[in-house]
């Protein structure tokens, strides 16, 4: 079993720079989480962006979709900021649907609501959840947050509740 990871930034990778009291996206932590868990699958991590997901553009989303479509792997995890995760997942879904080879891929989007560098965080749980989802689900594009697998067409972030919930198709 091989898993290809693309990282795009988001809360999961946020760090705090006291020198300017700012909170920015740092290096991807998912490989550290995999290693601490002693995962028995092989993986590659490709860092595409280090962005807050509110700053991702359509061109960025197209690049994510292109990279997924072009890679050899059939099992792909994307770490992503939570604010626009469903949008990027839908863009990838559309791109793969238009692509004969893409139809055979399982793509799982995941992130976290608290930074992985926090003591109290959902990051390790979520990465573990995504690691199982990407191995057990059939082809398709999924959003894995709050311990649930969502269809990108039927999920939204409830910002007030700070959680992902099912939603009518947008």
């Amino acid at each position: 079993m091989h898993v290809q990871v693309f990282t795009t930034g988001g809360t999961i990778d946020k760090v705090y720079f006291d020198a300017k009291s700012a909170f920015e996206v740092g290096d991807p932590l998912i490989a550290d989480v995999f290693r601490q868990a002693g995962v028995a699958f092989s993986f590659d991590v490709d860092a595409l962006f280090q962005k807050d997901s509110l700053d991702l553009t359509d061109a960025d989303r197209a690049l994510v979709a292109d990279r997924i479509a072009a890679c050899d792997a059939t099992r792909v995890v994307v770490t992503h900021g939570t604010d626009t995760m469903p949008e990027t997942a839908r863009a990838v879904s559309e791109r793969l649907a238009a692509d004969s080879g893409g139809a055979a891929k399982t793509v799982v989007f995941v992130g976290s609501l608290a930074p992985a560098r926090f003591k109290a965080t959902d990051a390790e749980f979520n990465v573990g959840f995504a690691a199982a989802a990407v191995q057990t689900l059939g082809p398709g594009v999924y959003v894995a947050m709050n311990g649930r697998v969502f269809d990108p067409e039927h999920v939204r972030k409830d910002r007030a509740g700070n959680r992902f919930v099912e939603a009518p198709a947008s």
Copy 2:
């Protein structure tokens, strides 16, 4: 989606008692992990034992199997010590195979190689992994460790390597 959890003890729940420099099984932590992850499924936790899995008896395993067979849930997670996890999973598998209703259940065994109370632990990742596996896999009994889903008939703990590996049927 509802998940029934049975806890039996094991490293995942180990605590350290300095007063006697001993390391014992404490209260189950899985509900805390679920809450910290803000899981969007309902769950019940039933603590069956607080034992090192080397101390589990055949009667204990029969009790675990009975409780799983008797419960209403079709999605069941069992937290368990790593040393005899495959044995208990096989006992449950045999029991459910002999039971008409049991055939419809998805049962995932999980634990951790380092206590959940440690800073560096596989516990949160593993619990997240099991939470996805129990929701996405079809009926059957599975061992979820080291980021992989194993068939209880074909897994063993490599004690020297401190990890779970595939193994010929025992």
Copy 3:
């Protein structure tokens, strides 16, 4: 032994609000640190502000000084943001020097360069350091950071190096 704590905010108490991707000052954590350490001295915690120290005004500093001068305790710890910690410490020092009773107080300023809510943080170490300093040092006002006791007149934050260093009197 009794220790009076005044909290003013700063990095030590920062939390992350994903809903707006902002990093704000949360509830004071020093009492949690004391409790986790099982401290054998009594303490009170009074939260004066929840501010980034760059936002503290002269009026705020005067209030801190007044509260310290007016309190019954002779052992006082102040948690404070790092950017203007020396300024507030000097303001308190001047106020106490002008006050007959104030001359008998030991006041220790402390904070952290990484939030206490981070896995990797200097917060617990620094709070422990301050707890010892406030009990062992004679009357005076001190800045306790980076494992050193500094005279407020001879310390500055080296922002590029993200640490406190000795400095000529300002």
Copy 4:
């Protein structure tokens, strides 16, 4: 300012070996704690033993005392298991009293009631406390636990309460 550290083992350095479900003394962690806190003093760490303090012998205590008496440093921290910390501190105190040069040294014993590798631990606080105590206290031998500085002649571990308390001279 220079601090010499001698480590002897104890709970602070305990690790958990799942392969045998045992809890043993691992590598000293105090240097990691100092580095994470960005301490602005120089230090050396010398690992003398990796023992549970119940296993320390009179010969071991004599060795600790000899090493402290013989070292160049005047500021010495000793990390030590909690069960016999006062005994070793008294042995060191007697040795230094019989030694002209020893009289000029400040020696602080410290450990922790929960392993430093735990999420919830007093280790970082205690190490920070000891770092301040060793710099601010005059010559003598001290036990620094539970946020207090104790005279080795008047302290004992209350095993039931799992904390250090004042005690009549033994």
